[in-house]
Subunit: 210 residues, 2 copies
């Protein structure tokens, strides 16, 4: 744990803070598709992502989903931060997109560290900032782009986050993330394939053009 923490966070946090994190942080390994946070959860701390990829989705009353954004190493979940510190509920669901490693930081420390460590203050503010910007990008996609563009953006974004050039996924799963129907996804994927941007296989999509 110390090793990976150093690797991704030594330029972010002061030495003393890294020491504290090692002391109080709880290391956890997440299996692929493991649920990390569910709608309405009250967070007892915040996860610091060491490795892997986490999908953050929003769900409405009818159980319909929409992808908000992905977290990757170096990220934290701003939504849980707020929930942890104010004892409120979390409005999102977080699922590991692949095997991931996190450090869970207990909520008691969150405010204390804000006082003690400038690097922690920067990190928290910066995390919120990143997340607000991700949300704005999501809003841009929804408001300004048509489904074919959203689909292509989804594929290239996800490939980057997963650090792969092909995605192992089904059309139905994509449809859930984009909140549309499988039929629509299949048709638009075929269109993207005809444009030479991707190549389709069963349970797998190769991305040829980024």
């Amino acid at each position: 744990m110390r090793e990976k923490l150093e690797k991704y966070y030594s330029f972010v946090f002061e030495k003393e803070l890294l020491d504290e994190i090692v002391q109080v942080g709880v290391y956890k390994k997440l299996r692929e598709n493991e649920l990390l946070v569910d709608l309405g959860d009250k967070m007892k701390g915040v996860p610091l992502l060491l490795e892997g990829a986490i999908k953050i989705v929003r769900e409405d009353k009818n159980g319909e989903e929409i992808l908000l954004y992905f977290l990757e190493r170096g990220d934290t979940c701003a939504s849980s931060f707020a929930s942890a510190i104010s004892n409120g509920k979390c409005g999102i669901r977080a699922i590991a997109e692949k095997e991931s490693e996190i450090i869970f930081l207990p909520k008691e420390k969150l405010d204390e560290w804000l006082v003690k460590y400038k690097s922690w203050r920067n990190f928290v503010i910066e995390s919120y900032n990143i997340r607000l910007n991700e949300m704005m990008e999501t809003i841009d996609s929804l408001a300004f782009m048509r489904m074919n563009e959203r689909l292509y953006k989804y594929l290239t974004d996800k490939a980057q986050i997963m650090r792969e050039t092909s995605l192992n996924t089904t059309h139905q799963d994509i449809a859930y993330d984009l909140h549309t129907s499988r039929v629509v996804v299949s048709r638009l994927l075929k269109q993207l394939e005809n444009e030479g941007k991707i190549k389709l296989h069963r349970n797998k999509i190769e991305i040829l053009e980024f």
Copy 2:
């Protein structure tokens, strides 16, 4: 300024912090439709809203707009906070929807106060939290609701923010905020009128049912 600050913020901030705010804060009155923050601005501080209503919109490359949310008294602009503290650019535009009063807090103090005042830390985290939730609501609307529902929600939300039961606005302006066309807005408004939820006048919409 002291008076209004006390009125809306005395339960939020400690006495010492209120004193500091009075010392370093710059009071400003905004005319209706005055531009407070523009896309790409680098913020020199954050606005604290004392009175009025501010509209926050997002714009894409083609100059097309979409409303993100409204600020009202007691609110601050989380987007400018991040921009101010990290010297980054602001990704939004903020326009006074009606005559408003703000206190502008210089960015030099923002981090200092995080160390000194627990109430300031809470306020900042809470503001981010509120804003993230507003963004999620906007995403919900875009992803899960049809235009007629979005329109009705827009009207009732805006009426609440403006503390009025009628809105002085044109169909075209609504269309800009919802990122659709005037024709669509006019038709759906007529539909809402037929359902008895609103009453249409020239340059004015009465809301009969909340």
